[in-house]
């Protein structure tokens, strides 16, 4: 097999549990099973990739035949792919407080039900709570003799409250996801909080669109770091010529207050003990004090374009590894929240996140807050709803004028190329000058 330069197999098996309680009715609660592997072979040029359900690692001639099948696929590739050398290391999976798998489905259903019940109050017409739990056993091996395994269990819940009055309808929600163990106990206040937000939003007005000073709360500022910087620093996009950050390493692209990091070794929701190519994970500073310092890389993109560190390849079970973020955050500054409010003067405070999206080649991003408040003379004023923020990456990063000292991380999921992976984003409060705020209001 002289035309086969490298192979690897990533096999993930496990089970997922979900519970869905809608207006007091247990709609579904149960467990499903999955078993998927992906085999990659590097031929004389590029990759042949085979996804296999229910993988049993064959040995001897049968395994060689499997490799040969992938090599046959690779025969149609034209791009000469090289791989950067890999450092190997497994980090211990963070300790869990209470393993969700040791708690019965009945008890988890009762705990979730308590959160859902807590969201019922006057003005609320619907309450819904869902729980997801996913345990994965991962095994990675490659042609250089690497053989790594790990086991993780992520779990969490979402609670949604819908409030309605005179035909108007608004929603409030809370969510918590973790890889540190069951987080369903004593969370009734989260249900109440979702309900309070939904009811309060009935009286909120749409924000007026335009340029203004905006304070982003830690959750939204985390999404800002993810959308405005994280994606465009992904080595595969840079390699394709589809990132506005291509060729800009060493250049000042943002405020000197701004340091943005991706760190899969942090014990947060996006933690990986090793990446999807069996490479050691570590902290990567994408931007340090306003200067673009590193891209995020897989072995392939590191070899192709350099300027950064590997260990950032991730994959859904059965899918091929691609460059992804893990735990992405803005480093703390030294401003406190009161100073940020005061410096904002007249503007808007944006809270929570309904997600975001970026066109990395054009360098334009959008993300949406759950709600916000007008800021008038440094004081918090009326509540506003349905506020988005958009911007151009290269100009917006210079607009960060204050960075707080109160960083928090928020778990979520990020989609790219049809693959969804667990991530966390975080930041302290951040003050942004000349933010382009989208809203349909007149005030």
């Amino acid at each position: 097999m002289t035309d086969i330069r490298y192979w690897d197999v990533r096999h993930v098996a496990g089970q997922s549990t979900h519970i869905d309680i809608d207006n007091g009715v247990v709609e579904s609660a149960g467990t499903s099973f999955f078993d998927k592997a992906v085999l990659r072979v590097l031929g004389t040029k590029g990759w042949g990739v085979i996804q296999i359900d229910n993988f049993t690692r064959p040995s001897g001639a049968a395994f060689e035949e499997l490799i040969r099948s992938a090599a046959n696929l690779a025969a149609i590739t034209e791009e000469s792919v090289s791989l950067a050398p890999a450092t190997r290391r497994i980090l211990p999976v963070p300790d869990v407080t209470e393993d969700p798998r040791t708690v019965s489905l009945e008890e988890k259903t009762e705990l979730l039900s308590a959160i859902e019940r807590a969201a019922r109050r006057e003005g609320v017409v619907n309450t819904r709570a869902t729980y997801t739990e996913r345990a994965e056993e991962v095994r990675f091996e490659d042609s250089s003799g690497t053989d790594l395994s790990c086991e993780t269990c992520r779990s969490g819940y979402n609670v949604l409250a819908v409030a309605s009055r005179n035909g108007a309808i608004q929603m409030g929600y809370e969510r918590e996801h973790s890889l540190r163990g069951l987080n369903l106990r004593g969370k009734e206040e989260k249900g109440r909080s979702a309900a309070d937000i939904a009811v309060a939003l009935l009286d909120a007005r749409p924000a007026k669109g335009g340029k203004m000073r905006a304070i982003l709360d830690p959750e939204l500022a985390g999404v800002f770091a993810h959308e405005a910087v994280g994606h465009a620093s992904e080595g595969d996009l840079v390699q394709e010529g589809n990132s506005i950050l291509a060729g800009k390493v060493g250049e000042t692209i943002g405020s000197p207050l701004l340091t943005i990091v991706d760190d899969p070794s942090l014990p947060e929701f996006g933690f990986e003990p090793f990446d999807a190519e069996g490479v050691a994970v570590a902290r990567t500073e994408i931007i340090r004090k306003g200067v673009l310092t590193s891209y995020l890389h897989s072995r392939e993109t590191l070899a192709a374009i350099g300027n950064g560190t590997g260990g950032h390849a991730r994959a859904m079970p059965g899918e091929r590894p691609i460059v992804r973020m893990s735990n992405t955050f803005i480093e703390e500054g030294d401003a406190n929240y009161e100073e940020i409010l005061e410096a904002c003067g007249n503007g808007i405070l944006l809270i929570g996140s309904r997600g975001g999206e970026v066109d990395p080649g054009r360098g334009v991003f959008q993300f949406n807050a759950e709600y916000g408040y007008l800021v008038e003379k440094g004081e918090i004023g009326a509540m506003v709803r349905d506020v988005s923020l958009s911007g151009e990456i290269l100009s917006t990063l210079h607009g960060i004028v204050l960075v707080g000292n109160d960083r928090k991380m928020h778990p979520g999921y990020c989609g790219k190329s049809g693959q969804s992976v667990p991530v966390s984003d975080g930041a302290p409060h951040v003050l942004l000058e000349d933010a382009v705020v989208g809203g349909s209001g007149d005030h």
Binding site: V81, S164, E392, G438, G439
Partner: protein
């Protein structure tokens, strides 16, 4: 393709044998049993810039089981047919936790037309064919000198779904899918286009050409001021708004749970009389076409919006029995592992067609952040992709950056017209739409 080592390569009759065993065993322990088996294969290839970098092959299998006992619905799924007994146990255990509900039974076999509506036997899973599709994309991109492909992909797939229940239903349907997509860039201006069909009748060169046109034409966009103007949403941008806001509001579950703005308006004129929206499950070669839904209920045309009036809502069996309605044959399932939910088959926008590009308007190809629209209230504020002025039927000056803010329900109350050309976007068929006096946030 030679793939003898895959245990997942289930032949149809093997799947049927397992299905019969599950029905027999499950029938002893539950009132009713339903089994769904999905198997699929695909080949695909990706371009990075101008060269093929990856070739992939997948073989999937999934088995889903639902059991009903005293109105308690349980479900589970597995990708491993050998674990069917564990999967059946998990389904029964899940039913024990579900809240019992009114239940009138799974459907009996019906005399449905035979044949596969979205299957083309000419689709062969050959990596070389995927390679030829990619070459077609490249030839289209070359129409525009400035544009370069950043990435592109082509895939061919075949899938087979078998649905059986303890009342004697044993339906089977095969589908084929051929999809291509291309991303192009010209300087910092990007363009994206895609197409899919159940056969080989797609034009990859046209896809490449369109992506390249969008990238090229959007170069040197001019600023636009915040204010109001007429907007034309491309079929894709229109589909994003419909999918995120309007379609969920037509789900009988959301309607009865208080999560739909449209709930009080059945039979009432809510939208512009020029707007109709219906599900036609029997379109020959329609990607979502099927004679039966994911629960075996015969499908039929559903007029959700007829000349602006809300005509009906969509129901699956569970929701219909709970609220005293009839299933509309709207159950869908995301593969065997996905839960049954309410959806549509081929969603079609109807209504009179006119020349909507004669009068000056801001044309929008795509929305960044459409998924952040509020599905309850319909409010959204999104960033625009490839915004450009259009007048006298031709594309004019591009706009650098703009946001559109509004409410999806409100903007369809009075539309400026539907375009003459209908575009097939997966399982949606719709034209461009003109919207008068929309709120734009410029730079």
């Amino acid at each position: 393709m030679v793939l003898r080592t895959f245990s997942s390569r289930m032949r149809w009759w093997v799947a049927v044998e397992i299905i019969e065993r599950i029905l027999a065993e499950g029938g002893k322990r539950a009132d009713e049993v339903e089994v769904i088996a999905v198997s699929g294969s695909s080949v695909s290839a990706d371009l990075r810039k101008r060269k093929v970098s990856h070739a992939h092959e997948t073989r999937d299998f999934g088995l889903g089981i639902r059991t009903i006992r005293n109105g308690r619905i349980g479900s589970s799924s597995t990708s491993d047919p050998a674990r069917w007994e564990q999967c059946l146990e998990a389904a029964l255990a899940s039913g024990n936790l579900a809240t019992p509900q009114e239940w009138g039974g799974l459907p009996e076999p019906a005399n449905l037309p035979r044949g596969n509506l979205s299957f083309d036997e000419k689709v062969s899973l050959d990596p070389a064919t995927a390679g030829q599709l990619l070459q077609g994309i490249l030839s289209g991109v070359e129409t525009y000198e400035c544009a370069e492909v950043t990435s592109a992909s082509a895939s061919l797939s075949v899938s087979e779904m078998t649905l059986a229940n303890s009342h004697g239903i044993l339906y089977s349907d095969r589908k084929t899918d051929v999809s291509v997509s291309a991303e192009a860039i010209c300087g910092q201006s990007t363009g994206f286009e895609f197409d899919s069909s159940c056969g080989m009748d797609i034009d990859p060169a046209a896809v490449g050409k369109r992506a390249a046109f969008l990238a090229t034409h959007s170069v040197n966009g001019k600023d636009v001021l915040t204010g109001t103007c007429d907007v034309i949403l491309s079929p894709l941008a229109f589909a994003q708004i419909l999918g995120q806001v309007i379609v969920p509001a037509l789900s009988g579950r959301n309607v009865n749970a208080g999560r739909s703005y449209l709930a009080p308006f059945l039979g009432q004129q809510v939208f512009d009389p020029a707007l109709s929206l219906y599900d036609d499950p029997h379109i020959p070669r329609g990607l979502g076409s099927s004679y039966w839904d994911a629960e075996g209920v015969p499908t039929r045309r559903l007029d959700f919006i007829r000349e602006g009036t809300v005509g009906c809502f969509a129901y699956d069996l569970k929701t219909a029995y709970r609220y005293g309605k009839e299933s509309t044959g709207s159950a869908v399932r995301g593969g065997a592992g996905g839960a049954t939910s309410i959806g549509s088959h081929n969603l079609v926008v109807g209504g009179p067609r006119t020349d909507i590009c004669d009068e000056r308007a801001l044309y929008v190809e795509n929305l960044i952040g459409a998924h952040t629209a509020n599905p309850m209230s319909g409010d959204f504020s999104v960033e625009l992709t490839n915004p450009m002025w259009v007048e006298n039927g031709t594309y004019g000056e591009p706009v650098r950056k703009a946001m559109l803010a509004g409410n999806a329900f409100a903007l369809l109350k009075e539309i400026g017209g539907l375009g003459k050309e209908t575009r097939v976007l997966g399982s949606m068929r719709l034209p461009a739409i003109r919207l008068n006096s929309q709120h734009i946030i410029g730079t």
